[in-house]
């Protein structure tokens, strides 16, 4: 293989021109033939589409669904684009067990949050520290199997850390606690360099006029509705909405800092951790 061009190289001097048997078929195969034989196995389509479904829908598909997905893939000549198009537009993809039932990975949580809040991704050192503390040390999975994902992202520890990191993100404050913790290396080694680098970091925070209109900021109902739609694409439970209103009502004059805290509170819910 030539990795740069994703093509097989032909070396006539060491080429085997004889018959070869592969997965029950015999012939004078070259590399492309072998790949063709692999992808023409019914199991290949099941495997690939099952992985894609699991990645986007957050669950291992049932056997029936996996079969249906594989059929769509094969019917489209094993092309990804039409397959994904069908998958994303299928009723099953919006089933009640899929929608808002996938735990966001730390990366989904961080990038999803900055997209929804229309703010900047924190500087690399902070983004790294946050995702690492939340259990996803990028490019360093715990083992060759990778992260277990799903509900295993959530422990009492990582959940509180998500809630506190939300504060750093919206307020643009430095996650000092995170700094103290991720500076330590396993084995107890110090990380003075990291601590110093952290002191130079400046965080942006959320800009309210980007995400709320003047009218929404003047009307608490409209503001909560708008923020719910932005952060959850659905409504929170009644008691939770009430809790938010109670918070906003507790302020005599609603200033930006209070609205920002309200956003942080909305992100500090079980509901915000799923997508």
């Amino acid at each position: 293989m030539n990795p740069e061009q994703q093509q097989f190289m032909f070396r006539p001097r060491i080429h085997d021109d004889g018959d070869k048997t592969f997965l029950g078929r015999t012939g004078n195969f070259d590399g492309d033939d072998v790949i063709q034989i692999i992808v023409s196995q019914p199991q290949a389509a099941r495997f690939i589409t099952g992985k894609l479904w699991n990645y986007f829908a957050g669950q291992v598909p049932s056997s029936e669904l996996n079969g249906a997905l594989a059929d769509v893939f094969r019917a489209n000549g094993n092309n990804f684009k039409p397959f994904l198009h069908t998958m994303f537009r299928s009723q099953e993809f919006y089933g009640s067990d899929i929608i808002r039932n996938q735990v966001k990975s730390p990366l989904q949580w961080l990038i999803g949050s900055v997209r929804m809040l229309e703010c900047d991704l924190p500087p690399t050192i902070v983004s790294w520290g946050m995702t690492r503390q939340l259990g996803q040390d990028l490019f360093a999975p715990p083992n060759v199997k990778g992260w277990d994902g799903g509900v295993t992202w959530i422990t009492t520890n990582t959940l509180l850390t998500r809630y506190n990191d939300a504060q750093s993100l919206v307020e643009g404050t430095l996650p000092q606690l995170a700094a103290a913790d991720f500076a330590k290396k396993p084995g107890g080694g110090g990380g003075g360099k990291i601590e110093k680098a952290m002191q130079r970091v400046r965080m942006g925070g959320v800009k309210l006029d980007k995400i709320l209109t003047r009218e929404e900021r003047a009307d608490k109902d409209a503001m909560v509705a708008s923020l719910q739609n932005r952060l959850f694409q659905t409504t929170l439970k009644k008691d939770q909405q009430q809790a938010l209103h109670d918070f906003l009502d507790s302020k005599t004059k609603l200033n930006d800092a209070d609205i920002i805290t309200a956003i942080r509170l909305m992100m500090s819910t079980p509901d915000y951790q799923v997508t």
Partner: protein, 451 residues
């Protein structure tokens, strides 16, 4: 019938339902599950239901990376040993002798003192059939107590919680670290974990924020039961939908409960335990001097939590770095020194607290290492190795048999196990945690009498 339940703490709620108050339909699914599990438990008097503050405690200590058991419990007078390890083999004057054949690595002074005091047992040659030399797979086998050719979804500690601790306080299992070990994975996950008690809290900028956070997280309605929830509206066609993929019966089977239910319960556990743990961390003083290492700090924390009366049955701590492919002697000396000293300090602390009789520490590592050293002054992944159990009621001394190092007795260069680690788990479960081991370990293993 609508029965409003004010949830002050989850523990109180469970206590009340245990006492038989009616279960209303407003109770979320996961609590209902817990309740039915409790009833099943009540029918089986052999298992305990609620943890108390006088129960026995198990501390599981993971030595991650695959500790070289042969240079830990050293067969210093064995010729095969010195032949296989000309560079890193330890001579007789460099071990803490247990008898004429075997001695501790000299870094394990702490262990030697405990051993001499009758508080440490060495279980020799522990492993499992068809050993796997991959870190993650072998760790998985130890964590799930599975056969090496089977994949288990849940961990052995998790199955202990599922089988014997329904309705227990969420702090029944405590992991010092940011991630839950696989052994804690359970059908009804329990347990809390944290690395630093100071950070283990919701950071708040005022009372109103704090109050609101609590209200937002104490709502325990399951998505399934929530009438307003859009996901219940299964009849409505999504605007974006391009139609069914086809061949699917309506309503696919659920693979499990709603993710948000699990997170809600974790949020409650986090909220309640964070106050409790920070309180204990501030209130309880350690009464021994620990090494300043990660392990030392973890055991220090465990000691505080025990002293503070947390109703925990299983604590989990770990120490990493045992993957000694190169320059093993220095690394292992440092790690074992830390292990022995931390353990010694922990035992002193427990004695000063008066809790030594309640506590048992069990160590494990995913595998031992090969009998022969490699060319880099290290050792590669192997198989069986010793486990250590510490407590004042243990069967102190050497248990099991030292595996033979004779070349003809080795399997692909590794020693053969003679105690299955699941017999050790079975012994700990039966004799220490007083519960039946077969439902937890999947089958009957002869319990090793560890106490």
């Amino acid at each position: 019938m609508k029965n409003e339940i004010t949830l002050q703490t989850r523990r109180e709620f469970l206590r009340r339902t245990v006492l038989g108050s009616a279960l209303s339909w407003t109770v979320p699914v996961f609590l209902a599950d817990t309740f039915s599990a409790l009833q099943a438990q009540a029918a089986d008097s052999a298992t305990q239901t609620i943890t108390g503050k006088d129960d026995t405690i198990l501390v599981v200590l993971q030595m991650a990376g695959g500790n070289d058991g042969i240079n830990t419990v050293v067969p210093y007078s064995n010729d095969f040993y010195h032949k296989a390890r000309p560079q890193i083999g330890l001579k007789a004057d460099n071990v803490l002798k247990l008898n004429d054949d075997i001695g501790f690595n000299s870094a394990l002074k702490g262990f030697k003192e405990l051993y001499d005091g009758g508080e440490l047992s060495v279980i020799q040659g522990v492993g499992y059939p068809n050993p796997n030399r991959s870190h993650f797979r072998s760790t998985e086998i130890w964590q799930t107590a599975s056969d090496s050719d089977r994949i288990e979804k849940y961990g052995w500690v998790g199955r202990y919680f599922d089988n014997a601790c329904a309705g227990a306080d969420p702090a029944v299992g405590v992991t010092i670290g940011s991630q839950l070990p696989e052994s804690f994975f359970a059908k009804h996950p329990k347990g809390i974990c944290f690395s630093n008690p100071q950070n283990y809290r919701f950071m708040s900028n005022g009372q109103a924020t704090e109050d609101s956070y609590k209200k937002l997280n104490e709502v325990e309605m399951s998505g399934d039961m929530h009438a307003d929830s859009p996901q219940d509206d299964s009849s409505g066609d999504m605007l974006n939908s391009g139609g069914s993929i086809g061949m699917l019966p309506a309503g696919m089977p659920m693979t499990g409960g709603k993710a948000v239910d699990f997170i809600s319960r974790t949020a409650l556990d986090a909220q309640h335990s964070s106050d409790e743990i920070r309180g204990i961390a501030a209130r309880v003083q350690n009464q021994a001097t620990y090494p300043g290492s990660l392990l030392g700090n973890s055991l220090k924390m465990v000691a505080k939590l025990i002293g503070g009366g947390l109703p925990t049955r299983i604590y989990y701590v770990s120490q990493g770095g045992y993957d000694t492919h190169t320059n093993q002697v220095n690394t292992q000396t440092r790690l074992l020194g830390d292990l022995g000293d931390s353990m010694k300090a922990f035992v002193e602390d427990m004695k000063a607290q008066g809790n030594m009789g309640r506590v048992l520490v069990m160590t494990f590592s995913e595998f031992g290492r090969r009998v022969s050293e490699n060319a880099n002054g290290g050792t590669d992944h192997g198989a069986a190795a010793p486990m250590f159990i510490v407590g004042n009621k243990v069967k102190a001394g050497l248990l099991g048999k030292y595996p033979s190092l004779a070349p003809q007795d080795l399997y692909q260069g590794d020693v053969k196990y003679n105690v299955d680690f699941r017999s050790v788990y079975a012994g700990v479960l039966e004799t220490w945690l007083k519960t039946k081991s077969a439902p937890i370990l999947g089958k009957k293993f002869e319990p090793l009498q560890v106490v």
